[in-house]
Symmetry: none
Subunit: 203 residues, 4 copies
DNA sequence: AATGAATGAGCATTCATTCAT
DNA sequence: TATGAATGAATGCTCATTCAT
């Protein structure tokens, strides 16, 4: 067995990557010091050394996984262009993401949802919501952005949890509704007149 | 010693209840034949006899848990009354639910989200979505109902996952947007709720 | 569940058949009242009722399984014809048998070999050896017949236990040697010492 | 209690020995991590640590058990001496082996035959056949050696499976036949392979 | 600083058997 | 007579953790 590297500065990194692969394949429940060590091809002791607890490893993994959809968003030219149909662009992005490898989507969501029971993960989950919000900030107000995130989460979950299929047209329509303030005037006027949404909606 | 109950016709039921208590206290990860048997005060073999696998038990538990929010919805007089503000009623219900015992909410969501990794649970998760949809059917079209469910799910998750607090006003505003079809006329149309959704646009 | 037949005279028979299918699929170790009951589609209690112990069921199954190669032998026209090359005919039969479904061969051998640890099966195993001996009786003497059975068993085992392949030419050659008494002189004379091999039949 | 042995370099070895004792006493079916741990007087975890699966333990045990008859063969002066009657020497060895403790013989055969259903054991079973073949290589050709092994296996099985008794004279006679090539002419002419088998013993 | 060995608790599941009907 | 319900023992296996290097 050729595994003599003692000083391996990237070992930590490699362990996180291995954890993501394991979680993608067998779910968070399949994560253990052992499975990760085997996947990363490092000694068992190495995983406990670099990550004293599984939660610690999970936080690192979640942070890394979060980059998936976030990158998709950030790198989308349609999203950046203020003249595009934002709802349509978002609906298309969701379609792309959900249409890709199911394991990737499931992995990100599973890690994200794990925060429900693991307070340690909540800050990271919050970071993600904020990041997506930041991307949308240029195109809408914060309160709307928050609702957009919620709606997209809910739609994705419906697809993932019920074995349903994604309906891009439906998603676009509903995103459009969310993006248009209730009191938006007849002329579709610039923006969001409603106090509620204009100045970040209170609340 | 003192457990000579051979004929116990409600044994199955009691095991499910015990499973819910265990899941509420320690999460799904804490569910095991052993923990449930101990909680229900039945022999270990009894749990495996009534539920050949943990998934089977989980399905029964999820089905039972689903009744929580569903009942809240079904029994709400505001929801049934076609003249009430639907968005407001829903926002208030969410507030009530989220304001209650956190463990109950977490439990229901954890069981619901478990479907992500356990295909066996997906049909039950789908049932729930459909049930809520059915409750809303009287007040809006199916496509909108589906989006309402998605938005509510997303909002609840944001609260639960990020340690944030629930903002009823914000929720009401966004639900209102979802409930108002895009095609609704320029003037913000004739109001709301029931009529507003009568000719749905849907998608 | 349509399973209302209370008086089912062939139930015993069906249970044995189910046991054979289970043993073929999962090995003797996979036999249990439960697996057999499931395979036979009879209530669990029915298997314990008809066969008080697993050994009893095993005896019945072994007796039934034994018919496989035995029938092949008995029905072979080449074997019955005193003018054929006995060694060649036997080698060909082995080839046919080993070339068929591996599970059938494995099953018969596994049941046969189980007698090693289960004295209850030994009489049945002995029956089989005797039956094959009887088929060969017309073509050779009892002692030689016994050795032929031994050699064939040994050859089959080598194939089955070592993942090797069957070499019919080799088998025929060796069977030929066994069938030809040592003392058979240049003149084919009887010459033999041992009673057992006195009427050698050559090959 | 009194079992503070942390550093025990021969632990692995002792576990294998314990496994052989358990298998001898209760058969392979009686092997379990627990029974072996108890027999070896080591913690349960120790058996799973050293042998990740029962198959692994079985392989080690079979390899060790194989040494029994193999050693008998290798250490036999009669076998090594090219002038002895090979068939007679083998027949006598079988007699010695079968006449010894029945448990030892049964154990070796049970482990050997287990390869039928456990592919993991097949390479080890093959090793054994090869080893015996190697011992015989000096006295006969490979094809004959293979048949000798087969015949001996078959004879031993008949004894073990049918509660019969071992007939050394019969065994010797049949081994003699196998050792004498068919092509050997009526005059016992030279013909085959190694000198050793050329003039096969008569009998 | 890093790691192989070791261990006891716990897991899901299968099982032969018992018992009341 | 036949059988569903019930149960406690046992199984293979995984694991976080500890410990001695």
């Amino acid at each position: 067995m050729a595994r003599p590297r003692r000083h391996d500065p990237e070992r930590r990194e490699r362990i996180v990557d291995a954890a993501l692969r394991v979680a993608a394949r067998r779910g968070i429940a399949g994560l253990s010091h052992r499975t990760v060590a085997a996947e990363a091809d490092v000694p068992l002791g190495s995983t406990t050394y670099h990550f004293a607890s599984l939660d610690e490893l999970l936080v690192a993994a979640l942070r890394k996984a979060n980059e998936g959809f976030g990158r998709l968003l950030r790198e989308s030219p349609a999203l950046a262009d203020p003249d595009t149909d934002l709802a349509g662009a978002l609906a298309r992005l969701m379609g792309e993401w959900l249409g890709g490898e199911r394991t990737g989507v499931e992995l990100e969501y599973e890690l994200y949802l794990a925060a429900l029971r693991r307070p340690a993960l909540r800050p990271v989950a919050a970071e993600w919501a904020e990041e997506v919000g930041a991307v949308l900030a240029a195109r809408t107000d914060p309160a709307t952005a928050r609702a957009v995130v919620a709606l997209m989460d809910g739609i994705c979950l419906q697809v993932l949890l019920t074995d349903g299929s994604y309906d891009e047209t439906h998603a676009r329509e509903m995103l459009t509704r969310i993006l248009r303030p209730v009191s938006e005037g007849p002329n579709g006027g610039p923006a969001r007149s409603s106090k509620a949404t204009e100045r970040p909606t209170d609340t």
